[in-house]
């Protein structure tokens, strides 16, 4: 049956078709829809789904399930694999029970990420196979194949879609979900499950030996395709293969072409194209993973072959597209290149439309109160979430990785900074990677203020639940963790919860925290406006009365619901009724619509 599916939904379908028993993940663009789709699709199938607290946890849960005989997968974005790197590296030694898939979605061009690291390097680093789909159909097919491969080789397998695969849609051929009727049982085997040095040494040697088996198993995989034609050739991997195919078709070229979809790379196929051609262009996004292998093989097989790729023909940063690849091929063939269409008027007259905090977003109010209390000179380390978009408010001085706001703040204090330090991170980010930092700050006596921007959801990635919400990935009720009790337990001296929409009380709480001679935590609690709207919460909107003096204090607050027209403020239809602007207005000209 063919359906029009999002790449991530195609992966979810593949997981069900392969009979996965456990899927765990932490939300992160572009990976989040895999578990969301599974929650929609699972019905009565016996699949344990979870939003884990972070990616390390997710991978360990999946590994435990695999060792118990359930096919298991962990989903994450590329930077999530940094968090999960510890179990990831050693799992390659220990191996799997039932198939184990690490689904790691990369984001070339940093569409929604802090970096564009290439996870194929991680697969290479840990010596496990990596499947690199070019489109949703391949993503679905590789998901099913990945489990079989993992079981055959007794190693975890990485599936590495990129944004243009995870967030692409295509007609995809799917089958029905499969039930695997296997009794879950953990079989004790210390030599393979306990990574003592004496066990790890032979397991590492075994893993190295397996590399040849991996290559053999993947050489004939359907995603490695060779066509030998002209004496010039192209080797491309992942989605770059599609750009090359389209360019060859568009330019009507007689050219030899090897498309690669699996790692370790298929050396025999690379050898055959290298024997056949005199020049070869390697096309891949980000790192020269394939190119380095092509160079290594060429030294043995055909040292005279000219190899073109990174740095000159193909950029090492950003994402590729059809035109960039077509131009690289044109250049190799000595054909005219096509510059991208440029519309000078667009640059000249268009107002920028950057993403911004929503109308009525409580993060804006929290940051306003924070800055009122802490002042311009204070240092404001921040974190990963919607609130990073408030960089223009002057309360986002750093953003490094999940949870780093607290630890950077501590380091800034210990490094000698004497101004006030008030850091901020979201509730989900705090639970993901902030708790250890808070514990460390308490233990090592960092005099800082930590603000938890608690909107009771993981908003940026599409409103996934977390332990603070008391609901699981499948919508079941669960234990609801109190952030205040947690902060106390981790050693914070002062813990205060405020409603950021009550500006006066919030400013007061921040002043108290600033004066506190130890580690203080402010929890700014107000549910995300998008979630509230979906839940049917309705508040009366506000409007600007005749007392407006046009002072622009409310405009500077930056809410998209406030506009400036004919020297006066005006509140538009986007108003959610948070009422914060009414508290800011020095002329009390903003009033609730009765």
């Amino acid at each position: 049956m063919r359906e029009y599916l999002l790449g991530n939904v195609a992966i979810a379908r593949g997981l069900l078709e392969a009979g996965a028993g456990v899927v765990a993940g932490y939300p992160g663009t572009p990976s989040s829809e895999i578990i969301e789709a599974l929650a929609d699709l699972k019905g009565n199938l016996p699949v344990h789904l979870e939003w884990s607290v972070n990616e390390k946890v997710a991978l360990e849960v999946a590994a435990g399930a695999s060792w118990t005989g359930a096919r298991a997968a962990a989903t994450m974005k590329h930077v999530g694999l940094n968090v999960a790197a510890d179990p990831f590296m050693t799992l390659a030694y220990l191996g799997v029970g039932a198939g184990l898939l690490v689904i790691c979605a990369d984001d070339p061009f940093c569409h929604s990420s802090q970096n564009e690291q290439d996870s194929r390097r991680y697969a290479q680093f840990s010596s496990i196979p990596c499947l690199d789909p070019a489109d949703p159909q391949e993503a679905r097919d590789m998901t099913v194949f990945g489990f079989e491969l993992s079981e055959r080789l007794n190693v975890p397998v990485m599936l590495r879609p990129t944004t243009r695969v995870s967030h692409a849609r295509a007609d995809v051929e799917c089958a029905l979900p499969k039930m695997r009727t296997q009794k879950g049982q953990f079989i004790k085997n210390p030599a393979r499950r306990v990574a003592l040095p004496s066990h790890a040494r032979p397991l590492h040697a075994e893993l190295i030996k397996k590399q040849a088996l991996m290559e053999e198993a993947l050489e004939s995989a359907p995603w490695n395709r060779l066509s030998l034609n002209g004496k010039e050739g192209v080797i491309a991997s992942g989605i770059a293969g599609l750009y090359v195919e389209e360019a060859i078709s568009d330019l009507d070229l007689d050219i030899s072409f090897l498309r690669i979809g699996t790692y370790p790379v298929p050396s025999k196929l690379i050898g055959r194209i290298l024997e056949h051609v005199s020049r070869v262009l390697v096309v891949e996004e980000l790192e020269p993973v394939v190119e380095e292998q092509v160079e290594r093989l060429a030294r043995k097989i055909n040292p005279d072959v000219e190899i073109m790729g990174k740095g000159d023909y193909i950029p090492r940063d950003g994402e590729l597209d059809f035109l960039a690849v077509r131009n690289a091929l044109s250049r190799m063939r000595g054909l005219a290149q096509t510059p991208p269409v440029c519309v000078p008027a667009a640059e000249k007259i268009l107002p920028p439309r950057p993403p911004a905090l929503c109308p009525g977003c409580s993060h804006r109010a929290t940051y306003y109160a924070m800055r009122k209390a802490f002042g311009k000179k204070a240092i404001y380390p921040s974190d990963i979430g919607c609130y990073t978009m408030a960089v223009g408010m002057g309360t986002v001085d750093t953003c490094l990785c999940m949870g780093a706001s607290i630890t950077l703040a501590s380091g800034i204090r210990f490094g000698g900074e004497s101004e006030g330090i008030c850091c901020s991170l979201g509730d989900s980010t705090f639970l993901h990677g902030g708790m250890t930092g808070l514990l460390n700050a308490a233990y090592n006596k960092a005099r800082i203020t930590v603000t938890i921007l608690d909107n009771s959801t993981t908003a940026m990635t599409g409103h996934q639940p977390h332990p603070g919400t008391g609901v699981t990935a499948t919508g079941d009720k669960s234990v609801q963790i109190s952030l205040a009790a947690l902060a106390k337990a981790l050693g914070a001296g002062l813990v205060e919860t405020v409603d950021p929409n009550d500006l006066g009380k919030s400013i007061e709480a921040f002043r108290e925290a600033k004066a506190y001679p130890g580690l203080s935590v402010i929890i700014a609690h107000q549910p995300c406006v998008i979630k509230s709207r979906r839940a049917g919460v309705k508040r009366k909107s506000f409007s600007v009365g005749s007392d407006c003096t046009g002072c622009k204090t409310c405009i500077e607050f930056g809410c998209p619901a406030i506009e400036f027209e004919e020297k006066k403020a005006r509140i538009n239809a986007l108003c959610t009724g948070c009422g914060v602007c009414a508290q800011i207005c020095p002329s009390t000209a903003i009033l609730e619509v009765v």
Binding site: F322, I349, P351
Partner: protein, 198 residues
Amino acid sequence: MKTSECDVVIVGVGGQGVILISDVIGRAAVKAGKPVRGAETHGMAQRGGSVINHTRIGCSFSPMVASGKADVLLALEPAEALRFSHFLAPHGVALVNTLPVHPITVTTGKAIYPPLEEILLPIKSLCRFLRPIDATALAKQAGTAQAMNVVMLGALSKYIPLSEDLLLQALAEVVSPKFLQANAKAFLLGKAEVESDS
């Protein structure tokens, strides 16, 4: 050699319903037995930012339309039409909803929203035909301003190789039954609006 039967670029502002249009086209294409590819904007950019969706009907290559290759640019907002006008092919058609949505840079007085004529003029010179449409007014006429995107889909239907019947079937799959009647009406109003265009 032509690598796609029809390349459509759909643009607008987060929340206007860009993805729904592509979803309907994709489903209709599958019903027609045609290969189809799409690429969407998710994540950070959605929060009030510019949104772009590529949809390629009768195509088995990558999901992205190349610069200068779009047969149709469907814009739910005029400034976004100009922002993404570099996708238009010289033989292409631009269908543009005329109601502006002011970005935060304009509402806070940091930038100016140019007059409609100034926005449309450079687009005209890039393509065969530009058609401004007051889709929001037509959607209100159909019963709900929210159906503006479906009015634009109706107008688009003239220029894509998919039958009205299949598009309406696909539309029924993605909108809630409660709003189906208003949406079907919106589709027909959009289609009628461009009927006599060349």
